[in-house]
Symmetry: C2
Subunit: 460 residues, 2 copies
């Protein structure tokens, strides 16, 4: 397969049938139909033989009864009815079908699973996502088949991160976390048991997708390892791919079989293959989040030399330790920059960290930041702020705006504290800067960004 | 010295003189005096020849002019005046003196530094904390010489964690972070250049201090390595000591010299010494926070077998990976427990993770938690909750109260998400359970708690 055009209708369908749409609030068929009504899809058809109309729209007993061909069908009926519904879609030459229903390979239902697999082979013109998934969310036109409980989640902002998740629930958690952030989601897809469309197809699609700058994935096991890694190798030269691999150990890979029906495979084999394919492997969820955030918001670093600027000596030192622990280098600013800073601000220390000391005001930060942005020995800026120190004009600091397109070095602002600090740190983030609470998390994310940038340079 | 009794007056002085107390709002002398007025100290004397009265109290031109001997003196005058003020305190046989003023060994002022060191040697009856420090906070009687900007910080709750910080600013940051948590501070001390009272003296004191259950430290370099590690070895058999070492690399240890005037020393030597002394070494701030939180709130684990309980398969798998990555074991519940759970809840999987699956309600969690608490093959419980899944009665789950004294296994609740999830997770924490946002952070903290518990068992 590997034809990204065949994936497009999942995200921008002109018309959609929801098979199993329902009038019953709280049911999956009701939630999906309700979500889809809010989307920018031109035509929407509820399909359910039990109803005359659903949520105010005429209902159809079957997809064939609609009288025209919907571009996409969402199948949310009990497992026993899935094969029949799918076959009907395929005969109609529906381009995209999402099977939400669970109860297939992940629970050992061989017969049903085989039926669907057989249909997918016979009718390659209809691409199938699922079964056992929550489907897709296009955050721009709001095509949305996910049946998450909206009242318990926040809506993520629009952005350029696209996220592929084998697991639906984990996907919901990650979307909900992203909603707390200033960066946003472009498209999300949970593909479950991957009977037809798999991680490689989706990767290929997002590789071509213009709205996608960064691809993040939760992967338990690739359906076709060779295809996946070959695709990844191609895409990673254009866009970063960050993967959190679930089931990295013999014991945990067994658990993935009952979760999404996939065999996770040996960790060592995967680790090496990830590296060779230019994939950034996240150690855990925290890592996935911080790397994705950094890559979505900041330019790629041109080297690994980090300059720390701080108003707290100890804070600077523990951060410098983290920079080194993550294989990065402490930058050495040029004697010219050091002399200039020292002349302007005699009380500071101009090593690395540059310690603006406890009575630092906004001007000191501004001078140090500007000088380091210009300094040829600096690739990355880590700006640490103790917002609680009395001399700092926090409003000014938090109001510092990022000059669009002019900044070519990644810069992050790191601070930790209670409400006051958090409020100003969030303001900093809203102004376009990338913030972290902990030096270790910032440094680890940086390490991966630096590694990816190096990978790209080698490939050129 | 190592006489913990000589340290007591710093935290529970019957009377205090503030030398350099001021009427000028925003000045250090004003802030300290203002804080001290709110404390439970019986008698308070402002000392400053410039004023007749300070903040409504009669002011004295010198400490000798008071006419009685204050138990503690806080010295907050310019560096040039410190030696004279200290000598006066010593002649009066003041028991405890805190030198807030900076401008000594950390800035290379040899003469002033030597004067103070000489005085400390000549008058051992007066114990001295500082110079270049923020002094002490006793969170119970509110004796407080820290001059932090209160409007920019939250007040930490009362608790059993005592915190020793070489750096004042880093200390303020950590106190402010603790204020966001449900656990609290007993006593805090920043000791700066450690000319008399050093980290070992403070460790000895907190080792004996009944209100202190856990000791956390930020250390750049021990003044007397042998004394420090010998003291630590003794104390660590009674209470956990968690140390974040600043300046763990050749490059960063240089920076500590200009910060607190201490030579940090080689990382490898320290690492080995920490291990031998039973000290838990935190890799970074995040680690320090999470280990301290876990040890303050939970019983020590009897082994390393972790049982994961979840309502999200993928979430469970990535957590299991973290458990293994941190050298812990996935528990194997007894066949009896598994059979009982399966009989009560046929749809769940009873491996590790125990997957209560997406439609789990509160009762499922309760049954699984209770069974695992009883199971002899389980040492630790990690309960993962996707609060956003629609079937879960979040109020009930978050309202689950911890039976006082009855729980002998550490249990933590892990969840991540936006406002809804965070609200209920905080409720869980208020009910006495220990919560984390990320499996990796929880697992890393657990690893240290397990390691410390093993250390104690070996020593017995």
């Amino acid at each position: 397969m590997g034809n990204p055009k065949s994936i497009e209708p999942f995200f921008t369908p002109k018309s959609v049938a929801v098979i199993g749409a329902s009038e019953k609030p709280g049911s999956i068929g009701h939630t999906i139909f309700d979500n889809m009504k809010k989307s920018a899809v031109g035509k929407l058809f509820p399909v359910n033989p039990k109803y005359e109309s659903i949520q105010g729209l005429k209902a159809y007993p079957s997809i064939s009864a609609i009288g025209e061909r919907p571009e996409m069908a969402v199948i949310a009926v009990p497992a026993k009815g899935v094969a029949a519904a799918l076959e009907e879609c395929m005969k109609l030459r529906v381009k995209a079908a999402i099977i939400i229903s669970a109860g297939f390979s992940e629970t050992g239902e061989k017969e049903e699973t085989q039926k669907i697999a057989e249909l997918a082979r016979k009718h390659p013109r209809t691409r199938v996502i699922g079964p056992n998934c929550v489907g897709v969310l296009n955050n721009h036109n709001k095509v949305d088949t996910t049946f998450f409980e909206r009242s318990r989640m926040k809506e993520p902002k629009k952005g350029t991160l696209s996220f592929i998740s084998q697991s639906g629930a984990l996907g919901s958690m990650i979307l909900d976390w992203i909603a707390t952030q200033e960066f946003g989601i472009n498209k999300f897809v949970s593909y479950g048991n991957a009977m037809d469309v798999d991680e490689a197809d989706l990767l290929e699609y997002f590789g071509k997708d213009e709205g996608t700058k960064v691809i993040a994935m939760y992967l338990e096991g690739a359906k076709d390892g060779r295809k996946f890694f070959e695709t990844a190798k191609k895409i990673s030269r254009k866009k970063p791919i960050i993967v959190l691999k679930g089931g990295r150990n013999e014991e945990t890979s067994k658990a993935t079989a009952s979760h999404t029906g996939s065999l996770a495979g040996s960790s060592k084999v995967y680790d090496a293959a990830f590296r060779q394919a230019g994939i950034i492997q996240a150690d855990d969820l925290l890592d996935l989040f911080s790397i994705a955030k950094l890559l979505e918001r900041e330019p790629l670093p041109r080297g690994n030399r980090v300059q720390i600027i701080t108003n707290g000596g100890g804070f600077g030192i523990v951060t410098a330790d983290q920079v080194i622990a993550n294989g990065l280098e402490l930058a050495k600013i040029t004697p010219e920059t050091a002399a200039k800073l020292k002349a302007e601000m005699p009380t500071i220390t101009t090593g690395n960290p540059i310690d603006l000391i406890g009575d630092a005001d906004f001007e000191r930060y501004l001078k140090a930041i500007k000088a380091c942005h210009k300094d040829e020995n600096v690739d990355i800026l880590m700006v640490l702020v103790l917002f609680n120190l009395p001399n700092l004009e926090v409003e000014k600091l938090a109001g510092l705006t990022k000059p669009q397109g002019k900044i070519t070095k990644p810069m992050m602002v790191v601070a930790i504290g209670s409400d006051f600090t958090q409020k100003y740190l969030e303001k900093v983030e809203r102004e376009g800067f990338t913030t972290f609470n902990y030096p270790s998390i910032a440094a680890k994310a940086l390490k991966e960004a630096v590694g990816y940038a190096e990978y790209l340079r080698k490939k050129k």
